[in-house]
Structures are given as structure tokens and as C-alpha cells.
Point group: C2
Chain length 262, copies 2
DNA sequence: TCCGTACGCTGTACAATGTACAGCGTACGA
DNA sequence: TCGTACGCTGTACATTGTACAGCGTACGGA
């Protein structure tokens, strides 16, 4: 697999058959299978949860299952398809809170929170580009559930998709920062705090504060406010409120009296 | 380099020295240098602009410069540091519109547009995680310039950084989709449209519309509205307006009469 | 003028990864 | 009972970043 970690990079027909567990073509012959697809998914997910996407190698998963690397290829066409079924399975396991009857802000906040939990449980899911989503049962159920949070408002179908895309995109981007921080810390054997502690003084030696007054003032203020340069939890709270405020002007445009209602 | 494409993955001291072009330690001895750092940056940027981050290999850049791969290591400590100076150089070349005196919405829209232009000119810059930004002259100048767009409003320093981070994060995420689409198309030798044309009918065979009414209705509506499943240009317009609306409630909180003013 | 040495440049080599390929053995259907 | 489809495996190759050692150059000091 090349560097962009993307879903649906394999053959669509083969991938969809795998996602929907289409039954095998003919009667079984030969030796009994020692594993099954779900066992492979489970092992691969366990490895990736703890070691990140860089730890997801066919050899590593095979080792976990006490099997030769090439054995995996009898359960999965390739690594790209494995990633697809892993992600769809994770989508399928997400909890889906029933917020029927609640104000739209509460409903959307719940959707955001469910995705945030997914990204916290499986950090690698935040770093995968789902431009071509895995079209499996998990992803479809997730999409259906999340659209219900936007149903019944005065939005047309395209606007519903727009709002959901914007919201999920924000949550994923925020989670990606955390996942990247973890991966970078492992890669450089240095936490963000350690890196700033090393880079800050070096920067101070070459940087003229008079030439960049705002940058030095705001940069140091932001740096000391949160522990490091970026605080994803703070950015999440801040961004989610701004974003919901922004959606409010769209959702409540015609009926300002309905503020906060479903 | 491992899979996450991140900045500042190398030694901070070595990287900062490179970014700020600190003069070499002692008097030159031995053969004349055939190249210089800027030539390497230029060649690497040209390669990456056309072939994406996957095309950025030391061998490929060396070939461009008609030099052996290992020669590059006399100009740059490693690939990680090369990426840093490439990015900082790109930041340094960005145009910085003077929007002094304009309403804050116009100023922030200009900042967004400048970044959008960067990502359009150098798509790979959108796919790099700048969790630990390259602390070079280009990045600092960019930060200073963008903060001026938020100066003079009733925001404190931390809020200024919050707003800028949220805005830039949105623009980058939007651009990353476009860059990923390009990379995926090249990787799979299939455009997004072709992929949907292949996957759509396959999905229709296994998907029960009655079980997922919203997903099928909204999904197809969104799909036909824009040509494909995602239209980054549409998502940009939609998201930027929502986001500025959301910032408005913060910026204009105390002085609602100042709506749209600087 | 001449030489020692610092340094630019290069070829070779290695580790890690996805996976093509061919072989080996198993157990089901006839 | 036997042929064959199929599960599993070892080997092998291409692609990466880059460590290492060698080779030759040209400057600083005599």
C-alpha cells in the first residue's frame, strides 16, 4: 500500500463481497480453514489499536494469529481490503444514542460525541481518508443513524448531507491531531512537550520579537494556556460550539422562534 | 520515514539551523559544492507538486538534479528535514493580501483564500500534518500575517489563536480531500466517478432501501447534486459560511452593533 | 611550491514491506 | 478409492531511507 491510507483502494466487487459477507462461490473442498474473516479483523484491529497504522503489517497480523503471512491472503484479497472491513466493523460496533425528540443541538452534539468515542477507541480510524467510504453494513447503518439527527429540520437532502459532512469532518480532523501526536511521539521518541522544550529556546535565539510582535505574543500565550502548542480537547470544545452556532443560522433561518427545538 | 507524513520529525537543532540558513561551521575545504539547499528544495518541490508526496523519494529528487541519491545527504540531514524546509519555503512564497480596515469577515475570508491557493498550488502541503510546525521564517511570517486579520477585535490572545486554528484547520481538511482524491485516483488507476460507477450498482444489489430510507434518499440526492459523492468546492463554500457565522457569535458577542465591522 | 587533510560525491548494502508464485498436503465428491 | 480443489507455507522481488567506506579534490600552512 502506498502512503496515503485510504479506504476502498481495492477492487470494488471483491471488497463489497467481503463487506457484506457474500457466501463463498462453491462447496468447500480440501483442508478445513483454521481461521475466519472475523478473527483476522479482530487481530488486525487489536494490533492497530495498540501500534497504530504503521504497526498494521501483514506479517504482524499473521504473527498475532500464529500463522504464516501469506495465509492471510486466503481470507482477504490484500491489505487495502483488510483496512476496509476493519473500518466497517468498527463503524458497526459504534453505539448509537437515541435522541428522538431532543433539540437539534443536543442531537448533533451526540453524533459528534459518538464519533469522538470511536476515534478515541480506535485512533487509527481518524487517520484514514474515507473519501471513498467502505460501503458495508456498518458504514451504512452509521450514515442512516446520523442522518436521523438532521431529519425533521427545515433542511433539504443536500443540506442534510452538507451539515453532517461538515460536522464529521471537524470531529475527525480534531481526532487526527491526537492520533498524529501519538504516532509522531513514537516515531521521534519525543513527546510534543519535549519537542517544544527543545525547539522553543532554539527559535528564541534566531527570532526577532520586534519583527513578529503578534506571532510571539499570541504564540506564547496560546502555548502557556494549554500545556503544549495544541490542546485537542480545548480545540474540540471551542470548534464544536462555533460550528453549531454556524449551523444554527442555517437551521433556524426561517423560523428564528424555533431556536433550539427539533 | 514512517507512514504519517509529519513535519519536524528530525532533530530540532539541525532542522532549525537549516530553516534559518545558519552559516556553515568553518572554512570550506575540498571540492566545490555542485548544488545548494535551495536547488534541492526547488527540485524536490517540483517533483512533489507533480507526483505527490508518494513521488517524493530521495532517489527521484537526486535523479532530477542529475546527482547520486546519497549526494543529497550533504545538503540535508534526511528526508524529514527536507520536507520541513520545503514546507517553510512554500509558506514563505505565499501572497499576503493587505486587508487593513476591511470588515473582519473579509479579512478572514482572505486568509482562507490565501491558504486555499497554497493548497491548490502545492497539493501535498494539505496532506502534511503540521502538528509540530516548521519553525522557519516562512511559517513565522505566515502566522504573523494571519494574526493581523484577527487583531483589533475583542478577542484575547488565546481566542485569536483558537479562531485561526479552526479556520486554517477547515481549509486544510477541505484541501486534503482534493489531494487524497488525486492520489487515490493515481493509486487505483480509477477516478472517484469511475469508482462510484462501479461500486454504486454493486451496493444497490445488497442494500435494502427500506431498511435504510434516509441513507438511500439523502445519499443519492447528494451524489446527483454534485457530480460525485463529494464536491470539495461546494463543501468549501458551505463550510466557510457556516464557520464564519459561528465565529460571528463570538466576535460580535458584546457589541452586536459592530456586525461586519473591524 | 608542495603536501596533508577536510570534505564532496558515489556505489554498495541492509532492513522493512506487500505480495506473486509454486509446491505440498488434505479431505471432499464421485 | 482416487482425483482434484483448496488451505497453507517458504522463497523471492521490487521499493523505500540511509549507514558506511572509499575515492578524489582543492585549500591552508610550510
Amino acid at each position: 500500500m502506498r502512503s496515503p491510507d485510504v479506504t476502498s483502494a481495492g477492487d470494488p466487487a471483491r471488497t463489497l463481497a467481503l463487506l457484506w459477507r457474500e457466501p463463498s462461490t462453491a462447496a468447500r473442498r480440501g483442508p478445513q480453514r483454521g481461521l475466519n474473516l472475523d478473527a483476522v479483523i479482530e487481530a488486525a484491529t487489536a494490533v492497530t489499536d495498540t501500534e497504530g497504522l504503521t504497526g498494521l503489517t501483514m506479517r504482524r497480523v499473521a504473527q498475532e494469529l500464529r500463522v504464516s503471512p501469506m495465509t492471510l491472503y486466503t481470507y482477504v484479497p490484500g491489505k487495502a481490503e483488510l483496512l476496509d472491513v476493519m473500518l466497517d466493523a468498527a463503524y458497526g460496533r459504534m453505539s448509537r444514542t437515541d435522541t428522538t425528540g431532543q433539540p437539534w443541538r443536543v442531537r448533533l452534539a451526540a453524533v459528534a460525541e459518538e464519533n469522538r468515542t470511536l476515534f478515541a477507541t480506535h485512533p487509527w480510524t481518524a487517520t484514514v481518508s474515507t473519501l471513498r467510504p467502505p460501503l458495508g453494513p456498518g458504514a451504512i447503518a452509521k450514515y442512516e443513524h446520523e442522518l436521523t439527527a438532521l431529519d425533521g429540520l427545515s433542511l433539504d437532502d443536500v443540506e442534510m448531507d452538507d451539515c453532517l459532512t461538515l460536522l464529521l469532518s471537524f470531529v475527525q480532523t480534531n481526532a487526527r491531531v491526537t492520533a498524529d501526536a501519538r504516532a509522531t511521539a513514537q516515531l521521534t521518541t519525543m513527546t510534543d512537550e519535549q519537542w517544544w522544550a527543545a525547539a522553543g529556546p532554539l527559535l528564541a535565539r534566531v527570532l526577532d520579537p520586534a519583527a513578529y510582535p503578534l506571532a510571539t505574543r499570541v504564540g506564547s500565550a496560546a502555548g502557556t494556556a494549554h500545556g503544549s502548542a495544541h490542546d485537542p480537547a480545548h480545540a474540540y470544545e471551542f470548534g464544536l460550539h462555533r460550528l453549531l452556532d454556524g449551523l444554527a443560522t442555517l437551521i433556524e433561518r426561517a423560523t428564528p422562534a424555533a431556536s433550539g427545538n427539533s
